[in-house]
Symmetry: C2
Subunit: 324 residues, 2 copies
């Protein structure tokens, strides 16, 4: 038991990444209006957020440009149209998915780019590809992270091996990614400590990317922070695929570093996100509770919510339990 | 770090209390239709829930019977109309609020009552009254708990004193009650350990009653369980005043004791709670986020949500910050 109250202090080295437009884009094929993207960008600047992730650097061979919004590809011109010259201290990030990104040609050198960070996302079987991508982005001048997805489905021996490999790359950060939204606090503690032990000796930070299937995204983010994660992801109003993410408005209220401001986020929510809720659904609805607790990918729950039986929880539960 | 995975095991002694109708009644002056109360009751029986709390034993001198629903008073006849003779292993509870209950006359002896448990709720300044109430209910044959409210506002020395006093009563359980919904996990850990140290030597259990202002009700309930709480409160769909409570559907999915069944709860939600949401509002909305993080009573947030400016988060935030 802590004799004092560490929760009223802060760690200056803790940095927040906003991935509202990137993760939220998974709901609507990345088709956000410029007005919203600009508002989120300005809010990040005003709120003291450290990084903003706009979307993916997806292969134009694999994905047709006319079927997705701009944030599926994150072309330099599209980003500059949003940010102008005024990004202040905010660093911009794009995600590069292993197997879905022509990174050699589509990611330019940093000196020609508006981006500061490339976040390389991969499943555990894609680690060799991810290692090449991390090296490529690092050599081009970017800060690089490794987002090892779906950690709740990885065997312990494979995870240990993957962390050892990533520790040898020039990535600055390795992120615990709870893709299924299934982790409980004790699991988060265990993973963050494991990641930390594996990568801290090579000077890397541990991050957390939580999903809200079990109403635990904020709680698990706090848990990760307590156990040493210094890079944390959040989204405005918790926007994100399925159950959504750790809500920025809660996270900034928790963090005690005076540089973070909650008020601009509240302004954004009332000006833009109430309206967004009229056309886009996200949040810890019952089907996401169920898939999260069964450690299943949220795709079945998303399909349920898109269908006529969206509120037939028992039917969905019976199907999921049969699938286990 | 745990080398193993305690989260897949369970403690047989952990008991769940449903307070859907009691806490939910604070939203609508306890005016639930019998149909809903019966459905919640039957769900508790089918789901293996240990206790169900129906409402308050409120003074009829202080509260006019025609201004409130039956569950403000929990008369024996009203309860029997709901439960009939079929309560199985489910124990029934009523809450008795210090200062608002004519307990000497309005609580009959256990042999004449359908209730099994009296939960005595008090603020720290009401401890002497609560002690008398606990003794009265115990002498009448009931299991008795002490729900010490608004713990986040109590000075440490007063809390220590209160726990020492309650330890000397015949209450079986002392409950950590986060009335403002403001506690973070480290605070829950600290309180549960403190309560445990104070009351376990006299054979009492520690309980947790969380509110969901910060989307932490479920997380804080898990945190309390990890640190030894064996009595946990939850409500169907998280129904409860303001931000609501720990959702039963999530809690039962987390607990691994095979006696608990999640499926009847899902059935209840789809049959009754979707409809209830059309007329009653609860959940971790932004004004509750704000009041929770500022450790303020939710009444201002409730007033905000009841008014024309219910979505003016910035105005509400500015008012709350000015009030701190």
């Amino acid at each position: 038991m802590n004799a004092k109250a560490p929760w009223i202090t802060y760690r200056p080295e803790l940095k927040v990444l906003d991935c509202t437009i990137r993760d939220g884009g998974l709901i609507n094929e990345h088709m956000f209006e410029d007005k919203l993207v600009k508002a989120v960008f300005q809010t990040c600047v005003d709120a003291g957020v450290d990084y903003m992730e706009l979307g993916y650097k997806s292969s134009k061979r694999l994905f047709a440009k006319d079927k997705f919004g701009a944030w599926k590809f994150c072309e330099e011109d599209d980003v500059r149209r949003i940010v102008g010259d005024g990004k202040g201290n905010l660093k911009l990030a794009a995600m590069a998915d292993a197997g879905k990104c022509d990174y050699k040609t589509d990611i330019t050198t940093k000196d020609k780019s508006v981006f500061d960070v490339i976040r390389v996302a991969c499943y555990v079987h894609q680690i060799p590809d991810a290692v090449d991508m991390i090296k490529d982005a690092f050599d081009k001048g970017y800060e690089v992270t490794c987002n090892l997805m779906a950690v709740s489905t990885i065997q312990e021996a494979e995870l240990d091996q993957a962390l050892e490999v990533v520790a040898g790359t020039p990535a600055t950060t390795v992120i615990v990614v709870d893709s299924n939204g299934s982790l409980y606090s004790e699991q988060v503690e265990r993973l963050v400590k494991k990641y930390h032990a594996a990568v801290a000796p090579s000077g890397k930070e541990v991050g957390i990317h939580a999903h809200n299937n079990l109403q635990l995204a904020f709680a698990n983010t706090i848990e990760a922070i307590i156990h040493g994660a210094n890079r944390v992801d959040a989204t405005m109003a918790g926007l994100g695929r399925g159950a959504g993410n750790c809500p920025m408005e809660l996270l900034l209220g928790f963090l005690r570093n005076p540089k973070f401001k909650q008020r601009p986020v509240l302004q954004l929510l009332q000006d833009h996100f109430l309206k967004l809720r009229e056309t886009v659904e996200w949040g810890p609805l019952v089907p996401y509770n169920i898939s999260g607790q069964l450690n299943q990918h949220p795709r079945a729950a998303m399909a349920c919510r898109a269908g006529a039986a969206k509120d037939n929880y028992v039917e969905f539960y019976d199907k999921c339990v049969a699938d286990v």
